[in-house]
Point group: C2
DNA sequence: CCACTTTCTTATCTTTTGTTAACGTTTCCT
DNA sequence: AGGAAACGTTAACAAAAGATAAGAAAGTGG
């Protein structure tokens, strides 16, 4: 895919949040970079500041922590979703999360520095503020559901919910990552699946 | 406490996010209401749209769901924190959460309607956008940690973290609410406390 | 001030989950 | 193509958590 197609996809997807006119888009897009991220490479790593927000044109990533030497996968992002270690990006402090490409990715990114420049530019400030607000709010809606699922649901119920509202995760992610995402071990998920699928035991 | 003191506290606390000048504050504050919420009364209920955002001047609330006839407490808010059923407020759809006063509360609120009016007012729009973005981003930072704790920590580790970074929750909330907040049952929390405190078993 | 509720602990039993290891299959890589 | 790594399931055992009930202590509200 060429750079122009990627930018056009981005602009189209952004209309969900904000509609830039031509003049605004020209300035806005000057702050964008197109990046490739090869499979298994890292978009973010613990101990490093994540100073970029990416938008995934092609590819998938997973977010994971390491605890007691073990990888624990907490989240995934797919095409047409934003990718960043949000807390690190917002605070400017080193993050705790690996964000790793599971496939070759094509990303459109801007840095925190670029964001500051845009917010300081009267031609863009208002729309970029709104853009930031809307993306943040959308993220909160997801988090609210996710926290509620840990509080009110059993692992089996969380799996069933994922099974029903399915989305890409079940189809595209290996099961041991999904287990972590649900807050359980791969062995436990395998047992839950047997219970659910066979109705036995 | 009189209305003016409450509004002054609010204005002072808001400086963390945004600093209104006099002219702006006059308009902004016209969109605010001062509400009392008596102990055990509800700020939000499942099935109803939560169309207000509150700022807690005095008091505490808890957020809870009902599952299989049982209350499950998911969160708390204290003085100088915002209170709303965020998803319901943002989407305009009925929420799933009870938000109940645990003490008599003094709240400063604005409605979604008022927010829309402020965002449509050129004198306020930019600062209110920024205000909304910053509050949303702060919320995300909290959620990121909270989700990570469910993914990477055992219930005992979550309790210990709460014990160390303590805050008001341990001091001011009954233990069975805290248990829910940690994603476990009250009986289980009692056992964890014994393990932790006595080092036994 | 007394009855009532709430809160917390403890005990017992059941269920679920974690841990470790083994095994077959698939995928990856060079 | 062939060896290595990754993946999913299953088993056996240990550890933890859930469910339920009982009882004591503390707090609440007439």
């Amino acid at each position: 895919m060429d750079a122009n197609s990627a930018l056009n996809i981005y602009r189209e997807q952004l209309k969900k949040y904000i509609d830039f006119n031509e003049a605004e888009w020209i300035i806005f897009s000057q702050h964008l970079s197109i990046n490739q991220l090869k499979k298994k490479h890292y978009f973010a790593e613990p101990g490093k500041v994540c100073d970029k927000v990416a938008f995934m044109i092609i590819g998938t990533v997973r977010y994971y922590h390491i605890k007691d030497g073990q990888e624990i996968t907490g989240y995934f992002s797919f095409e047409n979703e934003f990718v960043t270690s949000y807390k690190s990006f917002l605070t400017g402090l080193p993050g705790l999360t690996y964000i790793q490409a599971l496939e070759d990715c094509l990303l459109i990114t801007f840095t925190h520095r670029d964001l500051d420049q845009m917010l300081a530019n009267p031609m863009l400030a208002y729309k970029v503020e709104k853009f930031g607000r809307l993306v943040a709010e959308e993220t909160i809606v997801c988090y609210e559901d996710r926290v509620a699922s840990f509080i009110t649901q059993t692992p089996e119920e969380r799996y069933l919910q994922l099974y029903n509202t399915g989305k890409d995760i079940l189809r595209r992610m290996p099961q041991h990552y999904i287990a972590n995402y649900l807050g359980i071990t791969p062995v436990s998920l395998s047992r839950i699946r047997r219970r659910v699928l066979t109705g036995v035991k």
